[in-house]
Each structure stands twice: as C-alpha cells, then as structure tokens.
Symmetry: C2
Subunit: 198 residues, 2 copies
DNA sequence: CTGTATTTTCAGGAAGTTCTGAAAATTGGA
DNA sequence: TCCAATTTTCAGAACTTCCTGAAAATACAG
C-alpha cells in the first residue's frame, strides 16, 4: 500500500469496517482512498495506492457507482476518468442511507405486507403474523421519520439532531401553553399523529 | 424446512437480509424462527424447523447470545435450555443498535481520534485529517443524538419519531414566542448547542 | 480506417466462510 | 460415584466470495 501513514491507517480501518457491512474490504478501501484524496483520482492511481489489480479496481468502482457514491470527472485532453467522493459528507451519508433503504428496507416492507395479507393456516402462522405486524409498524415508524427528516436542509437537520431528546421538553412546554386549563390533559399524542400535509 | 408457510417465508427473507449485513444466513434464520415462535424453543426444535445440523444451531445461538439478543429460560424438570427473543420489539432494536455501535462505531471513533492527534507528515495527510475531522464530527453528532434519544421511554420515543421534521416548526414557534421583539433574531442555535445537563 | 490508450469482462485459482459429523465436555439425577 | 441427556468443540468437506491476468471491448487521435 503506497500511501502516507494517516491515510493508510484510515484506509485499512475503513476496509475492515466495510467488510463487516455487506461491502467487501477492497471496495471499502477504494472508497476510503477517494475520500481522503486531495483531488479526483483515476483508476490507475487507485491501483498504485492500494497495490491491487487493475481489474479489481474496475469492479470496485462499478460497485460504488451502482451505489451512487461517486462523482466522475473528465479532465481536458485526458481520456481517463477521474473519481471522487462528494465533498459534502452529509450528502454521502444521505445517499448511503437511501440506497440501503432501497435495497434492504423496502423489499422487507413489501415481504411483510404480503405476508400480513395472507390468511394464516395455523395458530403458529397466526402468532407469526402478530409479530410481523409489530415489526412492520416499527419499520414504518422509522422510515417515515427518516423520509420526513431527510427533506430538511443540512443546517436544520444538525439543529434537530443536536437537540436530541430535549425536543420532548419543548413539546411539553408547548402543551402547557396551548392546553386550556380544564381542557384535556395534553395534545402531544394528537400532534404526533398528524400527517405531514401542512 | 419444517415450518408453516408464513413463518417459512419470513425466515427465508430474514436469513437473506442477515447475510447482507455482517450476520450469516443461518444465524439470521435462527433468530427469525425464535422471533415468530409462540413459545421458547430448545436447540433441537430449531434443528427440526430449519433442517440444519445440531452443531450449527449451537454455534448460531452462541453468536446471538454474544449480541445479547436472546432470553434463556429453564423449564422445571427439563435439562434443556429454551430460547426466545425479547417480547418487546423496541428492546430488540435498541440492543441491536447498541451492539453495532459498540462493535463498529466506537472503534471507528477511537481510530479517528487517534489519527487526528497525529502530526501530518505530508500535504496528503494534512488534507486527509481535514476529511477525517468532518467524519468524526458527523459520527459524534449522530451518536450523541442516539445516546440522548435512547434514554426516552418507548412511548415518548414513538411520539418524537412520529413528529419527524415537524419538530422544527415547534421550535420556530417557541422562538417566536420567547424572542422579545427587538431582541436577537432567534435562539434555535443556542438551544441546539446546550448540553444535556438539565 | 488503424493504432494506441484505456476500461471492462470473465474463467479459473486463491482465500475465506460456513456447515457437518464425530468426539469431548458438561450437567444433574440416581 | 456412574450414567445418560445435552451441549460444545473442532478438523476438514462443501460452498461462496474475491482477485487476478489475459482477452475482449471501447474510445478516440491521427
């Protein structure tokens, strides 16, 4: 591996992490190299830095492109393609989550829905459906939250995340302010169930 | 595979999903079987349902235990151990996230911190550090959010998630109410940067 | 066109993982 | 203590994934 020490350490770690998720080590390393590089790199530069075969790099780049994780650029009078990761790291994470959702969550939701439509032929299947229903609800809650929050600009998203659970306090405050004395105890639940059509 | 149709379809899908994440197919299937089962099962019952070897089940259960994902129970006058997944699916997800964080995120954060302490010996390494710093900040933002939100009871967590980005609106409202006319434009940023010591 | 630079594909070998049956270890009752 | 039930371990077979070099495809300048 032909990289300065900090880059190398990062690339090795990132490759290791990649291999724990569905992504293979080498693909992880390729991404890491592009992520820390000062400028777009062509395939041969990646080969040189990682010391792996040209064809392996070609396949890795293909894979990363299929995840929408790369930017490509042509340089004047040069036939080679140059690759980078997006500058904005938030954009990278959004893409990553979107793609994983598309490949893993969406198919799971559709399998769950399909299985919940079927008529159970046994007690075991009936009980299974109850469990699957819980799972379906939870996944929907999480994906709806994500779909909603994902629309925010990064700035606002950061604010919201920084706030963490303190949001709940703000809501309690709101409740206290807007619930008339003698009225029903609080409307957190109601607010929580509105859908985003405002 | 010796399971009623809905269970079987779910188990197959779940195994497939497991194998996309670092978990192997069989381990995923074992978890799925326990998840939909009406009662705790012993190892041999899992063998029978999945049609895999006893030793494979034994290793799979070990693996799941190391993730804290199983409840074990003894039945009076029976030497066998019986396994289930927790009833509360939120508890399952919390455990899953906690464990992945412990195994993947925490080590990554510590590698990043270590690399950020080092003195870069080249321009490339200097630029790499800048990128790693962005990554470190983002991961910290996300993990702090999670650490904070994870403390909430499930009920409140559901409220907060259901609300999604509408929280931002509530915050704007709060701003409008508490910012004196003529005072500074808004304190969203200030609120967002407080730390959870209240 | 032709020739060169570059990228992609792919068969098959290397490396890694998962699974099994047999054997060893553990457990608790008699 | 011994024994039978149960669980765990582990060497190697079976399977999967990954990587390479060679060949094919593509792209474009002259």
């Amino acid at each position: 591996m032909n990289l300065p020490p900090i880059c190398e350490a990062f690339v090795l770690h990132f490759g290791e992490m990649g291999s724990r998720w569905g992504i293979n080590r080498t693909v992880g390393q390729i991404y890491a190299v592009l992520f820390v590089a000062e400028r777009p790199l062509c395939a041969d530069e990646v080969v040189e830095r990682l010391g792996i075969s040209r064809s392996n790099v070609s396949m890795g780049l293909k894979e990363l492109q299929s995840w929408n994780l790369l930017r490509q650029r042509q340089i004047q009078g040069d036939r080679r393609e140059f690759f980078t990761t997006p500058d904005d790291i938030y954009a990278i994470v959004r893409t990553l989550v979107d793609e994983r959702k598309k490949r893993e969550i969406d198919p799971t939701l559709s399998v769950l829905r399909e299985l919940l439509m079927q008529t159970p032929g046994s007690d075991e299947d009936k009980h299974a459906q109850a469990r699957l229903r819980e799972m379906h609800e939870l996944i929907e809650l999480l994906t709806n939250w994500y779909a909603d929050v994902q629309k925010l600009e990064t700035e606002r998203l950061i604010q919201l995340l920084s706030l963490g659970s303190k949001v709940v306090k703000v809501l309690e405050l709101k409740d206290r302010l807007f619930t008339l004395p003698g009225g029903k105890a609080g409307n957190l639940g109601r607010v929580a169930n509105q859908n985003s059509n405002d």
